[in-house]
């Protein structure tokens, strides 16, 4: 079992809901401090966005963050270098689009991630049908490949996806791109369907914008992923301390 799964299973066993905040690599000069702040605020793991020019499943906030980050020269390498120097108490999961790894080379990417201490990836445009080469590239190391289940995913596909997913299963709360929503959407239903199919930790994400929604989603899920709500604050000028407080608020809501 790769370390990401071990970690999250341990949280679940301990009765702790997992909280996975998302940050866009390179968005601000102090972006790494936000990652530390999130850990300090109670994150169970941190999702690191590697910016891509054409983020087709991201809403406007994360699009904007990605463009800003790209404009300041962020690359896969600069991100890994920045993270490789850090000591972080929780797992890191890279979120990006497949072309970044495809272009860098699959084995080279897997190695680079591992060297940087990143133990998982979420690649939303990498369907299970296309994932074999990437899974193989990651096979020998400790980089887990997380897959999403969507509200539209039919039962047969849920089985297939959870069979491939490592670390946890990402339960998409709604048919939508990343953003801030006012309900937990289909999260309970999707989580239930994933649970029927496997025993992996299941984290709900997409639109979980407030501590209250996180609390509600975590009634069924083993945890939540919170992206846009935090990135929005950073775009608006939030400091690492602000981030720590915001994450802590989510953590309290999950308690």
């Amino acid at each position: 079992m790769k370390s990401l799964e071990t970690h999250l299973r341990a949280q679940r066993a301990a009765g702790v809901k997992s909280l996975v905040p998302y940050f866009m690599a390179g968005l601000t000069p102090d972006w790494v401090q936000h990652v530390h702040a999130a850990v300090a605020g109670g994150a169970s793991a941190v999702e690191i966005g590697l910016p891509f020019s054409d983020p087709m499943i991201d809403g406007v906030v994360i699009q904007e963050a990605g463009l800003r980050s790209l404009a300041s020269g962020t690359t896969f390498d600069t991100t890994c270098s920045a993270l490789g120097d850090q000591e972080l108490a929780v797992p890191l999961v890279a979120m990006t689009y497949y072309n970044i790894f495809h272009h860098y080379g699959l084995r080279a990417s897997a190695r680079r991630l591992q060297d940087a201490g990143i133990s998982g990836t979420i690649v939303p445009d990498l369907s299970v049908e296309e994932a074999e080469p990437w899974r193989e590239a990651c096979h020998d190391g400790d980089v887990s490949t997380v897959f999403l289940v969507a509200p539209s995913t039919p039962p047969e596909r849920v089985i297939r996806i959870v069979a491939m997913s490592e670390g946890f299963v990402y339960a998409s709360a709604r048919m939508a791109v990343t953003g801030q929503a006012e309900t937990v959407g289909d999260a309970p239903d999707v989580v239930a369907r994933v649970r029927d199919a496997c025993d992996l930790p299941v984290l709900a994400g997409i639109g979980i914008a407030t501590p209250a929604l996180a609390h509600e989603a975590a009634q069924s899920a083993d945890g939540v992923i919170v992206g846009t709500a935090l990135v929005r604050r950073i775009l608006d000028g939030a400091s690492p301390l602000d981030t720590e407080r915001a994450v802590a608020e989510f953590r309290r809501a999950l308690a």
């Binding site: 296309e130 539209s152 048919m175």
Partner: protein, 394 residues
């Protein structure tokens, strides 16, 4: 017949043409892609559907389009050039073939709305047109930059009852319009079909759109037989996403004809791109050293796309088709030449194919060769731009 064909057959079960193609989309869209694949396969095997599709193309869209012998251009270049006249199809280009098929399929799938991306507006106008005829709701995504450059096409779509959404993300041009259409599709996939405009995107689009455009090649092959030209030495088409080229190549893939795709130098995914993954497909893509997609730049908006349909990447890889590129400089001259000699003002896209003929006649193309040229569209949409370029130059 399918058994005898070696080239341009169906892709494998994953939608791959060799190493290219596939289905790189968010899980939320996978069921829709699978549903579409099944619906398409089912419809395409249904004689009633095919009859309806061909009926609409002939009764509404003006098919078959003629093949015109370009006598004066032929004389001036020392070739025998036949033009397939997609410029005469309804809405002014081959784009209508595809949208007629996809809107019929939309209705067959029980969906009531289509969305589409568009660059200059040709595919958007075509989609709005077919949607109007079928009584489907229609939303077209168009880069904000393009909505300003092509104000009249925006208005044409609106006249046709479509809603045009200016896309303000990324570079605000065609590739961002595709992203935005995909984002929208995620949120309405139950009721809405994404009517993609070229042989690109995730499986089954590259295959389906090629099939829906292959009527160009089938007609042309029959017409050249009737004209006693038989199989031409060359089949030449411009390539943006690659749908008009795929459509005409399909009629000649299993003959001895040389297939030539002409890319715009500023959007030449095969000539200047490398393998990559974008918009749901693995294909040749123009990207920087970090795998970020680059903006294409061409005088013709319809060729302004950093990718190319995966089947073309495959045909290039196996050597069945050859892809060449032409810069912006000779395009206006080619447009003028065809206009003055033949009374046909081509679209700037199609003028790329003409420019290549002019450049290579007697060089790459031996004198006396017979050439089938796909005139993918008419130039009316481009006349204002050409005028301003010529004014700027003088």
């Amino acid at each position: 017949m399918a058994e005898q064909r070696e080239f341009m057959t169906a892709p494998d079960e994953f939608g791959r043409f060799g190493d290219f193609g596939g289905r790189f989309v968010p899980e939320a869209l996978m069921p829709a892609c699978l549903e579409l694949e099944e619906a398409f396969q089912d419809a395409w095997a249904d004689p009633d559907f095919l009859a309806e599709y061909e009926g609409v193309l002939s009764e509404f869209a003006g098919r078959p389009t003629p093949v015109t012998f370009l006598q004066r251009l032929s004389e001036s270049l020392g070739l025998r050039i036949y033009a397939k006249r997609e410029d005469l199809a309804h809405t002014g280009s081959h784009k209508i073939n595809n949208v007629v098929g996809q809107t019929l399929l939309t209705a067959r799938m029980g969906k009531s709305r289509v969305i589409a991306e568009t660059g200059a507006g040709q595919h958007g106008v075509a989609t709005a047109t077919a949607a109007a005829r079928m009584g489907l709701e229609c939303t077209v995504f168009m880069g904000e930059v393009d909505t300003k450059r092509q104000e009249l096409n925006v208005f044409r779509m609106e006249l046709l009852g479509a809603t045009v959404v200016p896309v303000t993300s990324g570079s605000r041009t065609l590739k961002d319009a595709v992203n935005e259409a995909l984002r929208e599709w995620v949120s309405c996939v139950d009721t809405t079909h994404y009517c993609l405009g070229s042989v690109m995107g995730p499986h089954p689009f590259p295959w389906m759109v090629r099939e829906m455009q292959s009527i160009i090649g089938r007609e042309a092959a029959r017409q050249l037989r009737d004209l006693r030209v038989g199989v031409p030495d060359y089949v030449v088409a411009c390539v943006g996403g690659g749908s008009n080229a795929a459509g005409i190549f399909a009629g000649f893939a299993n003959t001895g004809a040389r297939l030539i795709g002409v890319e715009a130098a500023g959007g030449a995914a095969i000539s200047h791109g490398t393998p990559g993954v974008l918009h749901g497909m693995r294909s040749h893509i123009i990207q920087d050293e970090f795998g970020q997609i680059e903006e294409a730049h061409s005088i013709s908006a319809g060729l302004d796309y950093p990718g190319i349909g995966p089947e073309h990447a495959y045909l290039s890889a196996i050597g069945r088709a050859t892809y060449v590129s032409v810069g912006d400089e000779p395009i206006i001259g080619a447009l003028r030449t065809l206009s003055e000699l033949e009374g046909i003002i081509p679209a700037l896209e199609s003028a790329h194919a003409v420019a290549w003929l002019i450049r290579e006649a007697g060089r790459e193309i031996p004198h006396g060769s017979s050439v089938l040229l796909n005139l993918s569209g008419r130039g009316d949409k481009d006349v204002a731009q050409v005028l301003s370029i010529l004014r700027g130059a003088s």
